[in-house]
């Protein structure tokens, strides 16, 4: 099911409901960098986020080095941000909240 690309107003509102996510320079994505206590905590977070991604059938672009996970969410099919990006962002924040930060 193709998702509707969100308008500027909806994106602004959705961002207000999230913690620490910012719009990418090109506007088509949202981004956040997480830092945990260790690789183990970082990968635990990634595993939980991966389960959410698979459930939503919507997947992140992410980079990990040791305790850091940089995430970028966008919807390639829609060519911008959709509700799924914000659902996945919220699920990731929830997964991160359970983990020990650095």
């Amino acid at each position: 099911m193709k998702q509707e690309k969100l308008g500027e107003e909806a994106i602004g509102e959705a961002l207000v409901g999230l913690d620490g996510w910012t719009r990418s320079g090109d506007g088509v994505a949202i981004e956040k960098s997480y830092r945990f206590k260790s690789f183990r905590e970082a990968f635990g977070f990634m595993t939980e986020a991966a389960l959410a991604a698979e459930k939503f059938n919507h997947h992140p672009e992410w980079f990990n080095v040791y305790n850091r996970v940089d995430v970028r969410l966008t919807n390639h099919d829609a060519g911008g941000l959709t509700e799924l990006d914000f659902k996945l962002a919220a699920a990731m924040d929830k997964a991160a909240a359970l983990r020990t930060k650095s």
Copy 2:
């Protein structure tokens, strides 16, 4: 335990024993891009690789988007490549061999 940085000859020999890994432009790392059938296969590979990384206490720099996993291995403490990088590379190749490729 700090690992010994490998010399050029040892790095050349170790690379010959691996499949598809190349030296980074700056020479301090080895890199490989894996492609799988799906995100599920890609993340399954990452999970197995993460267990190896944790066992070796030596961790990758890696980027994932959908079915693609780009890996960079280097040893920051040693300022270059060590035996651990090649052990982790071999473990990753083994984990990838079990997975369905695209």
